[in-house]
Symmetry: C2
Subunit: 282 residues, 2 copies
């Protein structure tokens, strides 16, 4: 699939036009031309439903609406991988009623071929455009085959310093750069920062394969870093947002608020507000 083809494909999915090769990125300087920059911004804000893992699907959707988000990627808590077609249909009907768009599923671990088959069948039935996943390297061949067969994208999620396979976007990139371009990255900027890598630099460097983003903040750029409300941690969010605009990222930027599992609404809302404020002032 050529670069042009992939761009067309992504656009047809209403998704990423993030296929601009890194080298050809147009740096947008802060010249005060805010209107033109806003027009150029293509990404949308969404939710990684792991944030609301202690809540039932209906409650999680209501909370997603409450904080003003319109796109969601479901974690298995809200739609188990082993759901029957009927259960999936029911969940989709529930989501549709809220006006929220189900764009993906994850994080889905694919440790063997069986798990790959299950993940793609699940995503297909649920109408997901992206699997945010962690496939073991030895099943990447099968993943590529499935991507071509199902026309579903796979965004490999990095899990930071303790992740032996995909600690950073760079480590995932190395393993997938030769594969179908619908296989790319979900840059989890908290884990990226915890691994000592600047999330903005990694977004820029691997822009041609950026398919999804987990946005969050962490207390420290080290293994011990804990997730906190966005704006209270160490990640340079304004720089990251400017980078997404610069690389023409047109996918979803999903909040994954891990703190306060049983009472996450205030921290999630503060995080959403912060990012919207950064966007408004950028």
């Amino acid at each position: 699939m050529s670069l042009k083809d992939r761009r067309r494909f992504l656009q047809s999915m209403g998704l990423a036009a993030a296929v601009t090769a890194t080298g050809s990125c147009q740096a947008q300087t802060r010249t005060g031309q805010i209107a033109s920059k806003k027009a150029a911004r293509k990404f949308k804000l969404g939710l990684a439903s792991y944030s609301l893992r202690k809540f039932k699907l209906e409650e999680a959707l209501a909370m997603t609406r409450r904080v003003g988000l319109e796109y969601i990627a479901l974690k298995s808590f809200h739609l188990p991988l082993e759901s029957t077609p009927e259960e999936i249909r029911k969940a989709i009907a529930t989501i549709k009623k809220t006006g929220i768009e189900l764009y993906g599923g994850g994080v889905i671990y694919m440790k063997d071929e069986k798990a790959v088959h299950q993940a793609f069948e699940y995503a297909r039935m649920a109408g997901m455009k992206i699997i945010i996943g962690v496939p073991m390297p030895d099943v990447l061949g099968l993943v590529e085959k499935k991507v071509k067969e199902y026309d579903i994208m796979v965004a490999i999620h990095n899990h930071g310093p303790t992740d032996k396979i995909y600690p950073t976007p760079g480590s995932a990139y190395k393993k997938i750069k030769h594969l179908d371009r619908r296989i790319g990255l979900c840059n989890d900027i908290g884990h990226t920062q915890r691994a000592g890598v600047d999330p903005s630099e990694s977004a820029l460097k691997y822009a041609d394969r950026l398919i999804d983003v987990h946005i969050k903040d962490v207390s420290k750029a080290a293994k011990e870093g804990r997730t906190v409300e966005i704006g209270r941690g160490v990640i340079d969010i304004p720089k990251f947002i400017r980078t997404l605009t610069k690389i023409n990222y047109a996918g979803i930027v999903s909040f994954e608020y891990e703190k306060d599992a049983t009472d996450p609404l205030a921290g999630l809302a503060e995080s959403v507000g912060y990012v919207k404020g950064v966007i408004a002032a950028s």
Copy 2:
């Protein structure tokens, strides 16, 4: 009191150095010198406790901490104007334990001389630096006398199109500009915008008397405008924040989140996040 004296006075209170005369404001252009701009920003974020009027003082303080605010102006719901000295002492001890600084009280209506005496005695006992108030014009003489006697500032709060006396900061300014400089304005930007006045322009125009700010957002720049989460309404918050920096405002910017009276935490948190995001990216 000269301009210089007032600046010294305000600084000694750890408060506004907002006495820069409008004409001498240094416009800070967006040249990308973010670090120097951040160093120049002197205002702090706080809470107008009216936002949490359905909650007891202890609960309101916990919610204030939760959203990361460290300054509070109490509405009478949380400390009645007719409190005994013992009740006030108890409330202050409760506040002190939380690490939050009680900087003001309001909105306090002063319809007659008795109310003026009561307001100042209340503020003095509570150690408040500012009364955010609505004094009837015929008691302004007494208010000025009290300001001199108690060394407590008065910030006149505008209430929008239905307010016959102080609809806008400009209408209040006209009535107090000849009085002691410790009498100034609390620009309620929601009501200001509802009155069809640009909050940023009014902050700039009356910068020499800006003592307090109620920050919020409204759905419409008209009488019918309702308060909404900051960032979801019509007020240009980035412009307002830039204006506060430009006029060297060094007081408190207090959130007054009026929506969701019985369940305000999420909307308040989103609003705080938004303003922090705007500040970070400005």
